[in-house]
Structures are given as structure tokens and as C-alpha cells.
Amino acid sequence: MQDDAAQNQTLLGADELVLNMGPQHPSTHGVLRVKLKLDGERVRGTECVIGYLHRGVEKIAENRTYQQFAPYVDRMDYVAAVSNGLGYCEAVEKLLNVEAPPRAKVIRTIMTELQRIASHLIWLGTHALDIGALTPLFYCLREREEILKIFEKYCGARLTTHAFRIGGLQYEAYDSFEKDVERFCKDFERRIQEYVDLLTGNSIWIGRTRNVGVLSAEDCIALGASGPVLRASGVKWDLRRAQPYAAYDQYKFEIPVGTKGDTYDRYMVRMEEMRQSRLICLQAIENIPAGPIIGKVGKVLKPPAGEIYHSIEAPKGILGYYIVSDGTTQPYRVRIRPPSFINLQALDKMARGHLVADVVAIIGTLDIVLGEVDR
């Protein structure tokens, strides 16, 4: 305690205050602690203290076999578990030099895009809730419920799905899979319009999000921010287009870009991304190829010694897996490149000069999940 006070003495000017936005806070989206250095209500600097949810996932990976580790990756970004699983399975498949069969790739793409919509719905609901708009949350969770029902019918779990296996899929798409996805997608356009009606032209929303947390394109790239944060700053780049994986090269979709890089632009980019994900799903279900769902992968996986880096466009940004194999059944090192961790670094730059209330909006717009930040 005394140490803290002494440290604060050196940090504080005559009019500065250090306010703790503690790990327990309704708007920090998890256990995130932000020390705000304030001058009145203006933020002069922030310092993030993280690690409250650190579970040592990378260390655990060195003590499990490749298949045993797959359920652990779901728990990092627990809001978008299917994406995490896709990245990991594809990385290990590259390490083994096997490829998932076409049917598996298409079903994986559909599941991942549904998961992207679900993740963005949670983001929209909680972000609006933090800013004060209470209604969108209920609507978003209603839509997300439909997606989670599809996941439950497919693999038995709603949240931490472990939907994919190394080499393909374990479960066949159930009988009414295409019909369910189609019904959801057909309904969804009308629902997105509801959110747009509530928020997009709303003067309070615009007042709270326009020009808040501006991040230029150069800053984004320098700070490593990726995903919707990067696109809202004007960089028209999406890993699904730049280095396609799964079945993304077969489908037509737009990459939404913003101009200013403020919170409002990030909101518009994510809304448009939901629309594009819906279009990808509709294209994919028209023609799911027949065939096997898993490639030639043995029961015991022993990739030849070496390493691989594979990254995907997760809903939060670039999710990368760097896996080093030493030829045994357990990986030697698994490094997960967490988009939320790296995007959170930009918080300091974005929050300076804004009010305390804007810090809440900025944390919401970065779309962080502490499970991924801390692993």
C-alpha cells in the first residue's frame, strides 16, 4: 500500500488523479483492471493490468497430446469457440501435412461464419449496454439463441463446442442442418435492420461514438491491431481474402471498411460483417459437397519435428497458432497469438484526451475477451 502511494507521488502532478477501474467492473468485459490517470474527467494516460484470468494454457499444451489440447483452445475466446478450434485444427493439419476433405471444409466455413455472427451479436449487445442502450442486448441474445441451438444440435455444446477435429469433423451435419441455417439466415436480415433502426441513426449513439477512440491506419499497423479495428481505420484487408483457408476462396463476400477509425466506424464495420457472414452461409449451404468428413489421420498423431505458423481471421482479429513439434505425440511449444491481447495495447493511445465515459465505449469497441487476453 505504501509502495503504491509512493509510486503515485511520482506519477501525479498537482491536478492529477489515479482512478482504478477495477478488475470487478460491469463494463470491462471480464477481469480487466485499468488504472486511469485523470485530470478532472479527462484521461491523461491509462495502464492496463491483466492476468487475472491467466490459466497457463500454453504450458498445458506441452503436457497434452494434440487431440487432448483441442478442447482447451475453445476456452480462450469463449465467445467464439468454433473459430479458435478452426485455427488450431488447421494449424495441426498443416503440421501433419494432411488436408481436410472438401465437405469438412464447407461445413467448417458455415459453422465459423455462424460463430462470427454470434460473436458480433454479443459484442453489439454488450457494447450498447455499456454505453447505455439497454434494448439491443435482448434482441442480440435472441438471435444468438438460434445459432447456439444449431451448434447444440450439431455437436452437443452451445459455447465451448470442440466442433472440429484434427483432419476434418467428427460429426456429420445433422439432417436438418441446411434447413436450420437457411431459416436463420433468411430471418436475420430483418433482425439486423432492427438493430440499425435502434442505433445507426440514433443521435445519442452517434454522440457517444463519433470521434471517440480514433486510431489511424498507421497506428493500427504499428500497434498490431487487426480485425474490425484495422478495417474501420481504412485498411481494406481481411485474412479470409488475403490468404484463404477452409473454403473461403469459393465464396463471394465484401470487406467492409471504415474511414475515420472511430468507434462509430467500428460499429458499422461489424454490422456489415454480420451481413457478409450471412451471405457466405447462404452461398455455402446451397452446395455442400458430398464425401468423407475426415481425412487420413491416424489415432496417434506424431508430426515430424519442425514448426508451423497458421493464422485465421477470428471475429476479434488475427488469431495465430505457432506450433513447434519435436516428433513426439505432445507438442513442444504452442504459442497462441491472441488478437484481443494485442488490440488491447491500443487502449492507451485511443483513450488519451477523452472522458472517463469514453473509456468504457473504447473498451467495448475493441471487443476484447479476457479469456483470450490472458489465456
Binding site: G51, G56, K59, I308, S311, I342, R375
Partner: protein
Amino acid sequence: MQIPLDNDLTKRYREQFGVAILDAIEDRKQPYLVVAAAQLAGIARYSRDVEQFDLLEDYTAVDWPRREKRFDLVAILYSFPHNTRLRLKIPLAADETAASLVEIWPTANWLEREIFDMFGISFSGHPDLKRILLPEEWQGHPLRKDYDILQQDTAWVRENLGIESGQ
């Protein structure tokens, strides 16, 4: 699966840095260069400015305890203009410090803090090198291979959480 690499990119690096490029390998179609730690800052700056690797996608380390140079710092670079990736591997001895890349890629700030936290590798020139995921007073660096999976800093836990932990 590792084959020696000798493409145009490698030739340019070798021309620029000579013996600092210790090795160039392609593993499963992904290229990486093994570079000397002493030249890390120069090579990083060249990669960003000339070769246009403007994104430091990831920065981590791997522990090979039986090797003479125990750690391998691994930087994964991505170039937006060329849409390619390059890995740089920097072998580092246990007590060696590496140059910080924060000046070149600001994203390295938290990434280097995490490497310091998990492996104990220090970076010279880093603005604020302290632990990031673990509490600041924690003893030990968990991702080293001599740190057991069930090991904890039981003294810290006893003092701060008031429980007897350590399965």
C-alpha cells in the same frame, strides 16, 4: 521437412548482413531466417523499412534447455504490400539480453513483456519491462522447461491469497 532456403529474399538479407544471417530454412513451405542476436535491431529495421514487413504479427520464444544457446526468440513478420510472412529466429543464451523492438514495431511492447514474464529474457531499451500476466512479485518463469507443470510460487500464494496451494 526442413530444406535449405536460397531465394531472392535470403540473398538480399545475406548481402546486407553477411554472417549475421546464420541460416535460412524452409519448413513446410514457411521460410525462416536464423539471425544473430547482436544484429537484431538492424535486421528488424531493415525488415520493416526495406523489405516492407510492416506488421509484427507475433513475437515469442521457445526454450531448448539442452542447447548451448538456450532460447529461440521467434518473430513472425507480415508484409501487407507483398502479402507474405517471414519468421526470424534469434538464438539467445540464458543470460543474454536482446534488443527491444518497441521503437520499430510498437506492438512489441506487451509482447516483449510477456516473453520476459514467461521466459525471463530481458530486453534492453524496453520502456517498462515488468511482468504482465503474472503478479509482479512472482518468482520463476513458467514457460521454461525446468518449471514443472504443477509448480507454483507457493510463497506468493500463501502471502497474497492466504491458502496453502501447490497440488
